[in-house]
């Protein structure tokens, strides 16, 4: 139990227990907490957005109060404590390397071993008279309830999926309705995942910018640098549209897009991006691309959108590894082939003049 646990901004006071001083945590999120969540959602600092592991107090718990277990990713910690205002409970924060409950459980980091170890190191046995722990349901992939009982004497109760159902769960005697046990993937849940996908895609695509500008200079009328700027920057615009198609439009429209495979779902937005870029050249700039170039866009952009859509499987809540492997076996060669051929046609369209 290190001193630094008490120094964190969300700690409001100390409560004394037979195991020593325990930091009491506020259940109110301040602006800095919300700003931290916002930044994490935009992939800023999210790999080091942590809370010190250990035992904390919520409200005014005593030795009969429930023990809630969570991960030390600050977003997780914040979304839990903000949902239990009014509750007197203990909060056992596990060291998950700053990763959220479900990902850490899948990796095994939020696992039986870490839980048992943290129970011991926190002195929890001296703090509560009962031997029950409430875990988030999504800790299931990593924590074996029967093993925790054998190794620590504590009984694991799997609480609801969402922290927002926790008060009701506890109020009804630790009972979960079927809805509380389902992981949904509604529009808002999908939307909040987009910024990270978008930022990651744009960061990776940044390397393509100089490549496209140089390739844009090849062939066609006008000098190399005139074409490089003209064609190259247009190509960059096209790539950005494809990124929006795969990383933004696909997640938003996910359940309504045709196909079960995510790589398939990215095709309609990708084809729309190709249509849009051709139309922009034609109507806005007044110069319709030739057939070869059009084919190039209709290969490159859907390939890229399909790839990004396929990458969304990692952020989704219902794709199996077996399923992802199967879709990738077919999709990845097609994406690589489509992008390569499309690129060739795009450059080639200016060489056959």
């Amino acid at each position: 139990m290190s001193r630094s646990r008490f120094d964190q901004p969300f700690v409001v006071s100390t409560i004394w227990t037979p195991a020593g001083g325990v930091p009491r945590v506020s259940t109110e999120l301040k602006r800095r907490d919300k700003w931290g969540t916002f930044k994490a959602r935009w992939s800023i600092g999210r790999m080091s957005y942590t809370v010190e592991p250990g035992l904390y107090a919520l409200g005014n718990p005593n030795d009969g109060s429930p023990v809630l277990v969570t991960a030390n990713y600050k977003m997780t910690f914040d979304s839990l404590r903000s949902e239990v205002s009014g509750l007197d409970a203990w909060l056992l924060v596990l060291d998950t390397n700053g990763i959220n409950v479900w990902c850490a459980a899948g990796k095994g980091t939020l696992g039986t071993a870490e839980l048992v170890e943290r129970i011991k190191s926190s002195g929890l046995e001296q703090v509560v008279a009962h031997r029950k722990l409430i875990l988030p349901q999504l800790a299931g992939p990593g924590v074996a309830a029967h093993r925790v009982k054998e190794l620590s004497g504590f009984r694991v109760i799997f609480g609801p999926v969402r922290a927002s159902d926790l008060m009701e769960f506890i109020r009804t005697g630790n009972r979960a309705t079927p809805e509380m046990r389902r992981k949904t993937f509604g529009l808002w849940e999908r939307t909040v995942l987009i910024p990270v996908e978008l930022v990651d895609a744009l960061r990776a695509a940044a390397f393509l910018v100089p490549v496209l500008i140089l390739l844009g200079g090849i062939g066609g009328s006008g000098g190399f640098w005139f074409n490089a700027l003209h064609q190259g920057l247009f190509a960059v615009t096209a790539i950005i549209l494809a990124i929006l198609a795969g990383a933004v439009v696909t997640p938003v429209l996910l359940p309504w897009l045709p196909g079960r495979a995510f790589s398939m779902k990215g095709l309609v937005p990708g084809l729309s991006a190709a249509l849009a870029i051709v139309a922009i050249r034609g109507w806005v700039a007044g110069e319709w691309p030739g057939l070869v170039e059009i084919c190039g866009w209709f290969l490159m952009l859907p390939a890229l959108a399909s790839y990004l859509a396929m990458n969304f499987t990692g952020a989704s809540t219902y794709t199996s590894l077996s399923g992802v492997k199967r879709e990738m076996r077919i999709a990845v060669p097609l994406q690589i082939g489509g992008a390569a051929l499309g690129l060739l046609l795009w450059v080639g369209s200016r060489l056959v003049v």
């Binding site: 299931g140 074996a144 046990r181 992981k183 359940p255 990692g314 809540t317 794709t319």
Partner: protein
């Protein structure tokens, strides 16, 4: 699961009904209602809704439920194929035997 179903006939979920004692812990941890309990035993009801998270297999004291648990993440598959090491985040596929601790 309505419109949130993934590919069909692909998951590695298995259940040995003779080993099942009907404790129902698997039902509590499954996030997609794949399993149901009937007549004191559990069986697979919505196989194609399974995402192979491994929670059921992890929590079966009898080892009746088994699955090749893994993260359904395309980036992880690519990273593994490229020989990259994993980090604390989930973006590498670890070789996982049937989960049955």
């Amino acid at each position: 699961m309505g419109r949130f179903t993934y590919l069909r006939n692909v998951v590695t979920l298995q259940l040995s009904e003779d080993k099942c004692t009907g404790c129902g812990t698997c039902l509590q941890v499954c996030p997609h209602g794949v399993l149901v309990r009937q007549n004191g035993r559990v069986r697979i009801e919505n196989r194609d809704d399974c995402m192979e998270c491994g929670a059921c297999a992890r929590n079966c004291p009898e080892g009746a439920v088994k699955v090749q648990a893994g993260v359904g993440c395309a980036a992880a598959v690519i990273n593994s194929a490229l020989g990259r090491q994993g980090s604390a985040c989930c973006c590498v596929v670890e070789s996982n035997d049937s989960c049955c601790d």
